[in-house]
């Protein structure tokens, strides 16, 4: 049973069959006491009924059927206060000889009680009559509904009993105990950073940020960057970039990207500004490739057109697997 607890609230609970829910007398709501009732002396329903609230509450209800009787002075339904959750109590509340209802049935501190829960077959009061029960203890205190104490069964004489304790701790009906906050089950869900989904995100790259120059003329390319690897077979995006410049304003640099056989990009790049005047020209590109799981090489080569010196730097090759 999960409830969100809460002070000052709720249903004080059903004490189950437990006996007494406390001192009916001053207690709160005695409620419908089920079979309980007979308290030995019978008749007298004790102070119950006169229930009402110790606290602010209370509906006394009636204390059971028929013969119930004397509740003795029992039935204290506890003081106000903030009761706890009685939960499902077991067989609580044996009263022994006396009508003492023991702690059973207790509605806890009804006051701002919580749920009393079902108390099971508690409440045997021993010798005495069949009473015992205080019934629904009601809303004593400021609480909510104290709940029904259940059928007291054969409990008997409540005698003097009934005192369910000066509430507070009393009435603990078994294992019920504090319901606690069952509530939020924590931060479920978030499965963390899923991140890359495996091999699809594989990437490979090579770079040479250094500067190179040559007087080699077109079409005698010299190699600037080579990247060789054996991929997992699949579809890849090959990307490249570099910057180039010529020693003279207006001079031309050739740059070629290839795998040694297939040329993915080859361009004659006219450089408006000279190397001396920092006339670097950037170029990037990409192509989709389907690669087999064999050794593959990719190259960035460069040369001048026919005169002067060609420069290149910041050369990079990147392969990303996309399928």
């Amino acid at each position: 049973m999960h409830l969100i607890g809460g002070a000052g609230s709720g249903f004080s609970g059903y004490s189950g069959v437990s006996g007494y829910s406390g001192y009916s007398g001053l207690s709160g709501y005695s409620g419908t006491s089920g079979l309980s009732g007979y308290s030995g002396y019978s008749g007298y329903s004790g102070l119950s009924g006169a229930s009402g609230s110790i606290g602010t509450s209370g509906y006394s209800g009636y204390s059971g059927i028929g013969t119930s009787g004397y509740s003795g002075t029992s039935g204290f339904s506890g003081q106000e206060g903030s009761s706890g959750y009685s939960g499902t109590s077991g067989v609580s509340g044996y009263s022994g000889e006396s009508g003492y209802s023991g702690f059973s049935g207790y509605s806890g501190e009804s006051g701002s009680s919580g749920y009393s829960g079902q108390s099971g077959v508690s409440g045997y009061s021993g010798v005495s009559g069949e009473s015992g029960w205080s019934g629904e203890s009601g809303e004593s205190g400021t609480s909510g509904h104290s709940g029904y104490s259940g059928e007291s069964g054969t409990s008997g004489y409540s005698g003097e009993s009934g005192y369910s304790g000066a509430s507070g701790e009393s009435g603990y009906s078994g294992a019920s105990g504090g319901s606690g906050y069952s509530g939020a089950s924590g931060v479920s869900g978030y499965s963390g950073t899923s991140g890359y989904s495996g091999a699809i995100a594989n990437y490979y790259y090579a770079e040479d940020l250094g500067e190179s120059n040559t007087t080699s003329s077109y079409a005698t390319y010299v190699n600037k960057l080579t990247y060789t690897f054996t991929p997992t077979a699949g579809t890849y995006i090959l990307e490249w970039n570099f910057v180039a410049v010529h020693s003279s304003a207006g001079g031309d640099v050739w740059v070629r990207v290839s795998n040694g056989t297939d040329v993915y990009s080859e361009a004659r790049i006219n450089c408006v500004n000279s190397y001396t005047n920092v006339g670097w020209v950037a170029r990037t590109g990409f192509i989709r490739l389907t690669l087999a799981a064999v050794s593959n090489s990719f190259y960035i080569d460069f040369c001048r057109h026919s005169s002067g010196t060609a420069y290149i730097k910041s050369s990079k090759i990147l392969l990303r697997r996309v399928a």
């Binding site: 120059n213 040559t214 007087t215 005698t220 010196t309």
Partner: protein, 64 residues
């Protein structure tokens, strides 16, 4: 044939090219290449130089 010279700064290949094309070994010249990082000037020639020719080349490279 490639001759290697250590050059820790980028050489002026334009100047060097003019010099070699105006030298006695101009017929052997193909191109120069230099790379930052290995700091080597590579002189690509179409043949091996004899000792006197090598002296000429060394002198030219020393200029840049």
């Amino acid at each position: 044939m490639i001759y290697y010279y250590t050059k820790t700064t980028i050489p002026d290949l334009d100047t060097l090219e003019i010099a070699i094309l105006n030298s006695s070994i101009s017929s052997t010249y193909e191109y120069f290449r230099w790379d930052e990082g290995d700091d080597k000037l590579k002189v690509h020639l179409n043949r091996e130089l004899n000792s006197s020719e090598k002296i000429v080349l060394d002198g030219l490279v020393a200029l840049v």
